[in-house]
Symmetry: C2
Subunit: 341 residues, 2 copies
């Protein structure tokens, strides 16, 4: 039982509180003899220092917060979030930090949670998953509160903020280039919401690729999805009359919904409509489609976010750090690459 204190251990080991503290924290300048004696006592008492006392005295909590704002519903429909959470949780564990999770859905949630995430004494720093318009408020408040902060995803404003992201424009561009290279010309897209940076950026990459190949932009080939399976399904139904021969979907889960719509319409993938998705989550390979998709390193993304945040905590928040991670096109079945060549 850990109702023991440093003082108890000190008494049992016949040393002082300070020495035990040094041993516990792995500090030098303790003789081996004493260190081992203390270590023994700790070992067989099962002592663990009190976290609150340590935090109070050291002004460090060794706890990081993960804030998932306005994405509470997505958290369950899009496997992206669980994967990101996994990476972050793993990294926290690796670096001996504790992870506090905050799902904030409404403005009231935000107000209720803000005091807890902004206050020192609970969290050393915060990772905010962002990319949505509505997330900017909490980011601004966190910046004002001077909290060490890493945004996962490019924020809308606040370029004085550290963030880590992928190059969505470039990634989408290369996905669509791939389709063009395979000979498709009526290429549609199911974009993310225009209220999100990823929605905007991935669509921009799509447009850029078309423009570069002088393929005229056809508005009827663009539908906005919401990063859900059913959203992809609905978007595809609105696209079908325009007769696309290929579709770039801004997420795997939307691609899956879209493919379902295509098949229900009696068409084949990729023979009638080819697909490229985005994310490369396990479901892309598992599903009855072999989805060609843009791989983004979700787990590593989370790990990197933690690393940057710890850097901020330990070395100060200025200047802001910006990390762009690499993506890669993974060619599987749905783009029809094997048919065309």
């Amino acid at each position: 039982m850990s109702d023991l204190t440093l003082e108890d251990i000190a008494r049992q080991a016949g040393v002082s509180r300070s020495t035990v503290s040094r041993v516990v924290n792995g500090q030098p300048n303790v003789s081996d003899k004493v260190r081992n004696r203390v270590l023994d006592v700790i070992q067989n008492t099962g002592f663990h220092p009190n976290a609150a006392a340590r935090t109070l005295a050291s002004q460090r909590s060794w706890t990081l917060g993960l804030l998932l704002p306005h994405s509470v519903s997505f958290f369950f429909t899009d496997p992206y979030y669980p994967h990101l959470t996994k990476g972050i949780a793993q990294a926290c564990n690796q670096y001996d930090y504790t992870l506090a999770l905050f799902l904030v859905g409404t403005k009231e949630d935000e107000d209720k949670i803000f005091p807890r995430v902004s206050r020192k004494g609970l969290l050393d720093g915060v990772i905010v998953q962002s990319g949505h318009h509505g997330d900017q408020s909490i980011i601004g408040r966190l910046v004002d509160a001077n909290m060490p902060l890493v945004v996962a995803g490019r924020p809308f404003r606040f370029d004085n903020v550290s963030y880590i992201d992928i190059d969505n424009i470039q990634a989408a561009y290369s996905a669509v280039r791939h389709l063009i290279g395979l000979g498709y010309r009526r290429i549609g897209t199911i974009s993310g919401p225009v209220s999100s940076t990823v929605g905007i950026d991935r669509k921009e990459g799509y447009l850029k690729a078309l423009a570069e190949s002088s393929i005229p932009f056809d508005e009827s080939l663009v539908a906005e999805g919401d990063f859900t399976e059913s959203g992809g399904y609905a978007a595809m139904q609105s696209l079908l009359p325009a007769g696309p021969d290929a579709v770039f979907a801004a997420s795997d889960i939307m691609a899956l919904g879209a493919i379902r719509a295509v098949r229900e319409a009696g068409l084949r993938v990729p023979e009638d409509v080819a697909f490229v998705g985005f994310d490369d989550l396990p479901l892309a390979a598992l599903s009855n489609v072999q989805l060609t998709t843009v791989h983004q390193p979700v787990v590593q993304f989370g790990i990197k976010a933690v690393e940057v945040l710890i850097d901020l905590v330990e070395n100060g928040i200025a200047p802001p750090r910006h990390v762009i991670m690499d993506t890669e096109l993974v060619v599987r079945g749905t783009c029809g690459a094997s048919l065309r060549r």
Copy 2:
């Protein structure tokens, strides 16, 4: 900025530290005049009491831990976990607790995390998602450490532990009864791993329903899945030669994989093979199958777990509390109910 302390606020409001503390904690016995004066100062300084100091002094952290052991990989393949997490996170927020998340995959993870979850001063209590053999070790250690603890899912041993669960046997039983009632006789099952309580219990319910209707048990109609889509797919492939006319799958996600296998084999759902799943996650209704399934109240389950844990924290861990939540069969398309009658 919250580098302010109680003392600062006290000075500004012309009262004592104790009075500010009373106001902050909503205690009675403060005159309205003084209370409002203090409240004003707090308001326009943006003061928040230091969490670590409060924890140290009160021996309560207002933080709960959620431990997802041996399920790190499931966390992403089975949407059940994100949903559970959502319920727990929501409830924590509602009751003004902070949620700390621990994903433990390996034995090393467990050892690394254990000191943090068991030690007072960080967590007031812990929720452990369980049901797997491998989870018992950490549960035992937590019990020994005298930590307020709620197990989500029936644990294997430790009936001196509080848990909350659904009646898996009964739920599976009624699902299979439904199939029998529709006239199916070669009913197979894709069970969960026998290393999990849900795997065991849901299979038991299946067997019970068969026995009650004097349908002989045919071993070739039972396949063990692993709660993944691909596991369900593989299990179904091994079931197909036995010619089932209906299948009870122990989770929705496995049912989806199984349905994919059936369709790839050129058979129809529910005409050739009917299905009942388990969970009733959104994907059951969204998917291109309209999955008949056992609804379990995942989010409420999480909320209940938090409520029980808070009860434990505030009123002592003895006697252990046991809560069994209701399930309900949701009839959609895949069981063929509409065809048969």
